[in-house]
Symmetry: C2
Subunit: 412 residues, 2 copies
């Protein structure tokens, strides 16, 4: 207890919102870079992207049929002499149609300049090189011509700054003549796990040793935030081993470094000591939150550093609550925090340890127009955090409760 | 109108639920294969996965402190002679502690057999090779020992059949001693786009030509359904070119083939003709739905075939509504259709063309415990389909309306 009070006096323990704010103050926007469209999936638009070409790029037919010159409607069915055929993809231009002539045209075919309408083939009769068109089609409102630029005008904004590019964006950009887009560079994120007991799967285990399972959380969660990832491996619980990783990180000049373990007050909890010795600057060393009592946020050269605690549950929660949102913000994604909302609690909830904010794994259940939420089962994948605020020891079934969606949900 | 009636009589036009059912009848479950844990992210568990080792694998300390032998509580503070130190990761076993002796132990250290408790170091006094422990600690309920198997027992089910593996699953599996998992093989999916007007970006365009933008939808959307993807390129609107792709597909022996375009009733809509000539069997050729009036579902040898229409909006909608769910079902994902729910309409909605079911792009808005939904803006990324049922020409603001989430949402 005493320790926590001292630390708060020292200004190194933060509330969650204050921690998010401090992290935000130290983030640098990633620089712009060009990405070919076929390598741009999931990248973040650095600025608004506008259309280089209109869509469609030329007036095109929306039906298989006959394209006609302007003609005065009047006396019943009308005959036209067929002079050519315009398939989709035909690049040889067709001259302006003379009165009394028509062309066969296919969906997507280029409509000759000056043409007034396309008439669908199934409503006409073709015989001996002539087509007969019922009079009502010549007066119909539908022209079956998609005019150049009628869907998207040149210069129109297609994708806003900070949007993560999905398949539909790339489809749109390609159809507007773009070959490449300007996106935020991917943050280069390095990670390492500390613990003298940790080994890789390949190494095999002796009694007393464990697999470095947090590596799988890093490798499984961080890429979903759009980063390029570098594994700095495992450091034993010695000042020298941890310092060696910070030395390598210093030469690497990445954007963000994340570690797990070695963050408590114990004799072998040496991450902070090694970080300081390497020249790191500490911004906070704990959150008034479970998990997160021991977490270091600082900067080493130009690299932001998150020292996370060791328990996998804490690593996962803090990756989603703090690290992931920071990585998205660096790329200019507009929503910089986790998506916050309220949901109805699907069961009553008794809270132990209610002296401090708790983030609990939750499962959002959408049904009948309501957002419900329940605690995730022990081995179940959560999709949100349920926030249990300090001082409240009991929540009733049906109560509205704060939740934060994890990841980068498309839901707004 | 007549055409549609004939087709329905012929049994080739389906309702959406009937189409989903028919697709389900023809799906084959993908075979099992082994994947190393570090290559298993996003793969689908072929069967229940159970723990090969308990967690923790050995009795471990949860604190830095001193591990003690059993001792009778009694008379005030007690002294113990320190005989050894057990750091996390120490593999040399420590013998059973003799009465009156103790070991320093760190969090994660192996607790010697027969030990009763760990006492946290900050509550004890160490001097001259001896530690003095206050009597109340010797009677405390908390032992600060995590017993072997207390978190996960050997043989316990860790991940259910049909679950897509996330980072947290891989963390868990690695900590239970797994090196690899049995997953469903990825469906091999091929795609091609038809249209004589289509070119790749690299080819450059002449007037009358377009970029094959649907390729970006295929490449952007299909991988999110866990498949391996093969691009069969572009086929012009000729029987020969389309037949050539089907011939290559026949030699390739993939699981699913998807095409775009060439699906209407026109002279150049040759996908069905080429499919039949290649030996394909047709199960349906249209849906009583917009989009989807022209869509072919069939089988060519062992390869399922989805012939989608050409407009990108239709391609995207049908990929999410029909193709994606089929791909997940083939991998054994439990939820085989799109996630269906209801949401409150955030604005009134007037419906044209209400003679047939329509799937409209929607954006789900979660707020204050309510699920709202609105139509997606013209260039906005949708996250759901809004279902407009036939015969209803108007929906009011605040009305509950059916929506289907797109993709493979974690939300239940």
């Amino acid at each position: 207890m005493r320790k926590e009070v001292i630390a708060i006096d020292g200004g190194k323990i933060c509330s969650l919102p204050r921690a998010q704010q401090r992290i935000g103050e130290h983030l640098q926007r990633m620089p712009a870079e060009d990405a070919d469209l076929d390598a741009a999936l999931g990248r973040v638009a650095f600025a608004d992207i506008t259309a280089e070409k209109p869509v469609p790029a030329f007036a095109e037919s929306t039906r298989d049929g006959y394209v006609l010159p302007p003609c005065d409607p009047g006396n019943g069915a009308r005959g036209f002499r067929i002079v050519d055929e315009i398939a989709a993809g035909r690049v040889q231009p067709v001259e302006r149609l003379a009165p009394g002539t028509a062309c066969r045209i296919m969906t997507g075919g280029v409509v000759p300049a000056g043409s007034e309408r396309v008439v669908p083939h199934e409503q006409c009769v073709e015989q001996d090189g002539r087509v007969t068109v019922p009079e009502h089609l010549l007066q119909a409102r539908a022209s079956y011509i998609r005019q150049a630029g009628s869907e998207i005008a040149r210069g129109e904004r297609l994708v806003g700054e900070g949007v993560r590019l999905q398949g539909e964006h790339l489809e749109l950009l390609s159809s507007c003549g773009m070959h490449a887009v300007t996106v935020a560079a991917r943050p280069a994120v390095g990670y390492f796990c500390t613990g003298s007991e940790l080994k890789t799967i390949a190494a095999g285990l002796e009694n007393g040793q464990k697999v470095s399972s947090n590596s799988f959380l890093m490798a499984g969660i961080l890429p979903s935030y759009g980063v390029s990832l570098k594994d700095f491996g495992i450091a034993g619980d010695t000042f020298e081993e941890i310092s060696a990783v910070f030395a390598r990180a210093g030469e690497w000049h990445g954007d963000v470094m994340v570690s797990t373990g070695g963050m408590g007050p114990g004799k072998y909890d040496l991450v902070e000591k090694a970080f300081l010795a390497a020249g790191g600057v500490v911004f906070f060393t704990g959150l008034a939150m479970r998990p997160g009592r021991s977490i270091l946020f600082g900067k080493l050269g130009r690299t932001l550093f998150f020292g996370l605690p060791g328990p996998p549950y804490a690593v996962r929660t803090l990756l989603h609550a703090l690290v992931g949102p920071a990585l998205l913000a660096m790329q200019g994604v507009k929503q910089t925090g986790p998506k916050k909302m309220e949901a109805y609690l699907l069961h009553p909830l008794e809270v132990k340890h209610h002296e401090v904010l708790q983030l609990k794994d939750g499962v959002l259940v959408l049904s009948g127009g309501r957002c419900g939420v329940r605690l995730a089962g022990r081995l179940e994948s959560p999709n949100c955090h349920i926030l249990l605020h300090p001082g409240c020891s009991w929540y009733g079934e049906g109560e509205l409760i704060e939740v934060h969606l994890v990841g980068d949900p498309l839901i707004s």
